[in-house]
């Protein structure tokens, strides 16, 4: 367990509201003190944070690390490095590996591999059903005991509402959230992009907003029946945002996340037939973007998550309709959020930090995302004004499927600290 003192940064902690120039002392991997001019042992390593924001370590509760099974696209090590390079100290990984993380053995394997190879904390999310086939419930309790922090059949949503109801009841008993990728697979069948003028123009099958809305509505109704904590993954539509706000107003234990790409890009912005713009849910219309940003502003959505979904280059070198869904996102999340939400004046810097810290920590029930004394010594440093250009050829991920290659940003993560150890620094030119 490492010790470190971070000097002279603008310390911002949404959990306490702290916002002033200060030092952060980490002793043996835990936050020991926050304040001006802290005295520290002479031998301690110093991280100069002058001109930078010092925030609690960022969490990304929706990533795909592809291990076990798809190591050609990503591993726990490379995904962990990409997370560190993106300013994240903790990630939660989805269970759609091979084999699927639907039992305690796979859960333990992921945790052990992460302990050995990942620079950041990794918390696995278990499957809802065996093989994520949507029929028989997975070993939820055993996975919970092994360290799974939530359940989800991300990407292969449970279509059978009775199965989902039972899963929610069990999850409530285990006090873990059910995360749902909301998509009615019949309504979206064969779809390659958002259903609208652009899909019709390009001759591509559409994925209607209704395919998401129908399932969000179902899940919220089941949340009411079961009392479960339900988290809506990558929310992308006007109606879904409105329904989540309504459910919250009615006291349901519901939360939601939005990805940076869904609040930055619309369907029209996608380069034609370029699979780096192909994901589920698809990039939606401008009005959907306005709506999800409004929901971030109002607090109806309390989490930004990337849905980092690496795919090997060869998988993306085929006909658009055959290309798999998903894009990488860990390394561009902070910059996109600063650009679209903070520099545009929609939300404060403090609020943005909360979307990456207190918000996700609360959803997952993790005692993280704060600089309180005694908390894990995870810290994210960023410079909201640093100008840089994203070069996907220098990514830490094994995959390069990002639509943001070549994009210039104002604002970047500058250092990532996990348990008092600096695991990534902005490269010196």
């Amino acid at each position: 367990m490492a010790s470190l003192i971070i000097r002279n940064g603008r310390v911002m902690d949404p959990a306490s509201g702290h916002d002033s120039t200060a030092d952060v002392l980490i002793l043996d991997g835990r936050i020991a003190a926050v304040g001006p001019n802290i005295e520290a042992p002479g031998s301690i390593e110093v991280q100069d944070a002058t001109g930078q924001v010092v925030a609690p370590g960022f969490l990304d509760i929706h990533v795909h690390l592809r291990e076990p099974g798809f190591e050609h696209a990503e591993t726990i090590e490379t995904g962990g490095k990409a997370a560190a390079a993106g300013g994240f100290t903790t990630v939660c990984c989805m269970p759609n590996t091979s084999p699927v993380n639907d039992n305690a053995t796979v859960t333990s394997y992921i945790i052990e591999r992460a302990r050995q190879y990942s620079p950041v904390n990794v918390f696995p999310i278990g499957a809802i059903t065996k093989g994520s086939a949507g029929e028989e419930l997975a070993s939820i309790g055993a996975m919970r005991r092994a360290g799974a922090v939530a359940i989800s059949d991300d990407g292969r949503p449970v279509m059978n509402s009775q199965v989902m109801r039972r899963a929610m009841e069990l999850a409530r008993g285990w006090d873990i959230p059910v995360i749902d990728h909301c998509e009615d697979l019949n309504l979206s069948a064969g779809g390659d992009m958002h259903e609208g003028v652009t899909s019709v123009r390009r001759g591509l099958r559409g994925i209607p907003s209704a395919s998401e809305d129908v399932m969000v509505a179902r899940d919220l109704l089941l949340a009411e029946v079961t009392g479960a904590r339900v988290h809506i993954a990558h929310l992308s539509t006007v109606n879904a945002a409105a329904m989540v706000a309504y459910a919250k107003a009615n006291g349901l234990r519901v939360s939601a996340e939005v990805t940076p790409h869904h609040f930055v890009l619309a369907d029209k912005d996608a380069a034609p037939y370029d699979s780096n713009y192909k994901m589920r849910p698809p990039l939606r219309a401008r009005r959907d973007i306005r709506s999800v940003i409004d929901a971030l502003v109002s607090g109806a959505i309390e989490v930004i998550a990337t849905d980092h979904a690496p795919h090997a280059g060869s998988e993306k070198m085929q006909e658009f309709e055959r290309c798999p869904f998903g894009i990488t996102g860990l390394e561009t999340a902070i910059a996109l959020s600063l650009e679209t939400l903070v520099h545009s004046g929609r939300i404060s810097l403090m609020k943005m930090i909360g979307l990456f810290t207190t918000g996700p920590a609360r959803v997952m029930g993790l005692p993280r995302g704060t600089l309180a004394v005694g908390a894990p010594g995870d810290v994210t440093l960023f410079d909201p004004d640093l100008h840089w250009t994203y070069d996907v050829n220098r990514t830490c991920s094994k995959s390069k499927n990002s639509p943001f290659h070549g994009r210039s940003f104002r604002g970047s993560q500058t250092a990532t600290i996990v348990g008092g150890r600096v695991v990534w620094q902005f490269p010196a030119e």
């Binding site: 123009r201 390009r202 055959r322």
Partner: protein, 301 residues
């Protein structure tokens, strides 16, 4: 112009010059077929991932009449193993160094994929449910063989609009020249978004309304059984959207009836209509070669 991927991005001038040039290549029945040396020494690869005898043959004849060497590669898209087809094809083609590629593919955007990675002209011979630019050009050539201009013409396009690349390309072309385009089909095959794709486009579910006063009726090929769902009961398709002689009287007296072929008699149109004086379906086939000659000449020189 580095290739021909679609009509949507073409200017009126580019279209007009192709159509004018195509007239030079039209054959007169009384004279022997004329051959040219315009593309001597050029190699054209016809890459057909979807079976299409007539379009492929038409491109082959066009290339040969221009003096080019034409090679046809036919691959069934489904038999090529997933994940390898297009990249491997790409690499193979790069090594063969053709001067141009004519591509037909069942996936929308497949020629665009090729164009992004190869620095030679790519001619789209129909991509999925997106565009079929040479079909629209030959249809325009056919109309202009019978009419002074496209401007102000009322053109009804009838059938499975949603999945039709022919409808999209024709709609773009006709709209650019000021025609009124009426798209007609059952609600499940006629997305409302079409009205926003081009100027002067209206939609109707009623075939009589579509044909009323029409100068041109374009029937589309309908393959309801190939869809993975049932957008319209095949049993009643002909009675609501099949073109029969009784419809013709609703149109202008000199109406042109067109079809991209191959026709399904008794499915999209009755035999009587197909064989009637108003049908210009065989003219379309003839013009296919002339228009493709004009396109190949322009793209490869």
């Amino acid at each position: 112009m580095a290739g021909l991927l679609g009509i949507e991005d073409l200017s009126r001038d580019e279209i007009r010059s192709i159509l004018d040039r195509a007239r030079d290549f039209q054959q007169t029945p009384s004279q022997p077929v004329r051959k040219y040396e315009l593309l001597r020494g050029k190699m054209i690869v016809n890459l057909f991932f979807e079976s299409s005898t007539r379009t492929r043959t038409s491109f082959e004849i066009a290339a040969k009449r221009l003096g080019a060497d034409a090679v046809s590669i036919t691959a069934s898209g489904s038999s090529v193993s997933k994940g390898e087809s297009l990249v491997d094809t790409l690499n193979t083609l790069g090594a063969m160094r053709p001067n141009g590629i004519v591509m037909r593919h069942a996936a929308s955007g497949a020629p665009h994929f090729l164009a992004r990675h190869l620095a030679i002209p790519i001619i789209n011979a129909g991509d999925g449910t997106h565009e079929h630019p040479t079909q629209a050009l030959l249809d325009a050539r056919t109309i202009l063989d019978h009419r002074e201009s496209l401007e102000g013409l009322r053109v009804a396009i009838i059938g499975d609009i949603a999945h039709s690349r022919v409808a999209r390309s024709n709609m773009y072309l006709l709209s650019k020249f000021g025609a009124q385009v009426v798209l007609c089909g059952p609600p499940t095959l006629l997305p409302a978004e079409f009205a926003q794709l081009a100027r002067g486009v209206t939609l109707t579910w009623d075939m009589h309304e579509a044909i009323e006063g029409a100068d041109v009726i374009m029937m589309l090929r309908v393959q309801l059984e190939r869809q993975n769902e049932t957008p319209f009961p095949a049993s009643e398709y002909f009675s609501f959207y099949g073109l029969r002689l009784e419809h013709i009287s609703l149109a202008k007296p000199d109406v042109l009836v067109m079809h991209p072929g191959p026709i399904n008699r008794g499915r999209e149109l009755s035999s009587e209509v197909a064989d009637s004086q108003r049908s210009v379906i065989l003219n379309q086939v003839e013009n296919g070669v002339a228009v493709r000659m004009a396109v190949l000449e322009r793209m490869l020189n």
